[in-house]
């Protein structure tokens, strides 16, 4: 059994522990591609320029990478954890969570919120990842194993005044509804259970309409977001091939996303312009004798354009690698389709670094573990 298979078993057990459920269930529950820095560092993700929006306390990710020069590498697994959700929050409310701020010392109405904390996502979106990967990485003749750790967060998040005003407007509509006679008659009725009250309130046409509008505002993408990440991978070595364990790769990078809302195309449509800058200390380079690795410094810089149409998105990215070695560039088109609210697929197709003109395909999914779900891991 490969180390990766043991690792994924441990991941699943860990996830079940997190879920605190009595039945070990797992459900494919993904709104985003595999994107942990531990993966991105090794250039095996469908996209190297990733600005994830979803919040997920605990997730498991896996990637299959197929290239013309190496066998299919299917032992790539990662876990990613957002500690924000596991730590007790102080002085938290809806406005603070959405980074709204006030110039007044005492806030008593929604109109007192007149600004935005552009650094407000640093802690909320911080995540840590751990990955184990098997592959040749266009260097080795035999499949080799790496273990990676990574961290990322959103350093900057900018919303337009129109977006901030949208929060206030929808808040007022929502509060007015919750103060209305029809809602109060439901909540005050002592003969109804909590579940019955909830169902009656949440199925009111006005509630559904306001909720949809409110979610559209809250979940609208920031006008500009800047994410930063760092990761380190360690080569586990292979004594049969004469390799000692050593540093694999270290990287630190920043990705910016300028998101232009295009409602004329669709309700949730955006045109994204991304940029990336990455420093790498790359130890996955083989000496001519074929048994020793050496390290070099590299700089990656590039961009990506993405057209997002609600469930479907198309993207193209180009990243140039500046180093003493000629590794070419990464030129990949990708497509992502969200089949439903619980499952999405993401694929990439093109040329990767070191692929020497060979076309590669990358495919990934990500899922979270939870209770009451449809896929049973251990049916006994």
């Amino acid at each position: 059994m490969r180390v990766a298979n043991v690792f994924v078993f441990l991941l699943l057990c860990t996830g079940i522990g997190y879920s605190q459920g009595t039945v070990p269930n797992a459900e494919l529950q993904n709104l985003a591609p595999p994107s942990s820095p531990a993966f991105v560092l090794m250039d095996i993700t469908p996209s190297n320029i990733i600005i994830p929006e979803n919040v997920q306390a605990f997730s498991i990710q896996t990637i299959n990478a197929f290239t013309g020069n190496s066998e299919a590498a299917n032992g790539n697994y990662a876990v990613e954890v957002q500690p924000y959700w596991y730590v007790k929050r102080e002085n938290m409310n809806f406005f603070k969570y959405n980074n709204l701020t006030s110039s007044k010392s005492q806030v008593s109405t929604v109109d007192d919120y007149d600004g935005m904390n552009i650094f407000g996502d640093i802690w909320k979106k911080a995540s840590f990842s751990l990955a184990l990967m098997d592959g040749t990485f266009e260097v080795f003749e035999e499949t080799q194993s790496f273990i990676s750790v990574g961290a990322r967060t959103r350093l900057l998040s900018l919303r337009t005044k129109k977006q901030i005003d949208g929060f206030k407007e929808q808040y007022k509509r929502y509060l007015q509804l919750m103060r209305s006679q029809q809602v109060l008659d439901i909540l005050a009725n002592s003969s109804l259970s909590s579940a019955e009250k909830n169902e009656k309130v949440t199925t009111l046409q006005e509630f559904i309409a306001i909720r949809n509008d409110f979610e559209e505002v809250v979940q609208s993408k920031p006008f500009f977001a800047l994410d930063v990440a760092l990761a380190y991978s360690h080569f586990l070595g292979d004594k049969s091939s004469g390799f000692e364990d050593t540093m694999g790769r270290f990287g630190i990078w920043a990705s910016g996303d300028l998101a232009l809302y295009t409602p004329t195309i669709g309700k949730n449509s955006y045109v994204h312009f991304y940029g990336i800058f990455r420093y790498l200390r790359d130890g996955i380079n083989l000496e001519e004798n074929g048994t020793e690795l050496f390290s070099v410094d590299k700089l990656d810089f590039g961009g990506k354009i993405e057209l997002e149409f609600d469930r479907l998105s198309f993207a193209y990215e180009f990243i140039k690698r500046d180093s003493d070695m000629d590794e070419g560039s990464r030129s990949i088109g990708s497509i992502r389709y969200r089949i439903n609210d619980s499952f999405a697929i993401h694929g990439g197709f093109g040329e990767n670094f070191r692929s020497e003109g060979t076309t590669i395909a990358l495919f990934g999914i990500q899922w979270g573990l939870e209770n009451n779900s449809s896929v049973r891991l251990s049916p006994n």
């Binding site: 529950q29 959700w85 596991y86 809806f94 109405t109 002592s190 949440t202 979270g368």
Partner: protein, 133 residues
């Protein structure tokens, strides 16, 4: 149902605080008896994150011998990709929610509550009931 000796004191006041990412709206209802289906008096629903002070029950009138119920309705507008994360957000509500009455004996008096969360609608309800003797 818990009880609190408020006697002839007036006004009796309510204060609610909670630390959550959700939008919270608190409503208070006063009934003549435990078996009454509908209240005879309602408090103006309020957002406990903005209205942090004490609020009078029944416009400051005496409320001895009545039943008081408090409901805080939470709606999460930031969608959660899985129930695991949602449950952690609900745990934060359970761990930080405080509803208390001022003006009885003892005072202030923390009211016990029950929490029920609904992942499908991304909502949560916290309910309390108290006999005011």
């Amino acid at each position: 149902m818990d009880h609190l000796n408020v006697g002839n004191n007036a006004p009796i006041k309510l204060r609610v605080s909670v630390q959550t990412e959700a939008m919270a709206v608190t409503s208070g209802f006063i009934y003549h008896s435990e078996t009454d289906e509908m209240p005879y008096s309602r408090m103006e629903p309020f957002d406990p994150s903005l209205k942090t002070g004490w609020k009078s029950l029944d416009k400051g009138n005496e409320v001895g011998g009545k039943v008081f119920r408090v409901i805080t309705f939470f709606t999460f507008f930031n969608s959660f990709p899985n129930e695991e994360t949602f449950n952690l957000a609900v745990a934060q509500i359970k761990g930080s929610y405080i509803a208390e009455i001022s003006g009885g004996n003892p005072s202030p008096f923390p009211i016990s509550f029950t929490t029920e969360a609904f992942f499908t609608t991304q909502t949560c309800m916290v309910e309390s009931g108290l006999k005011l003797l």
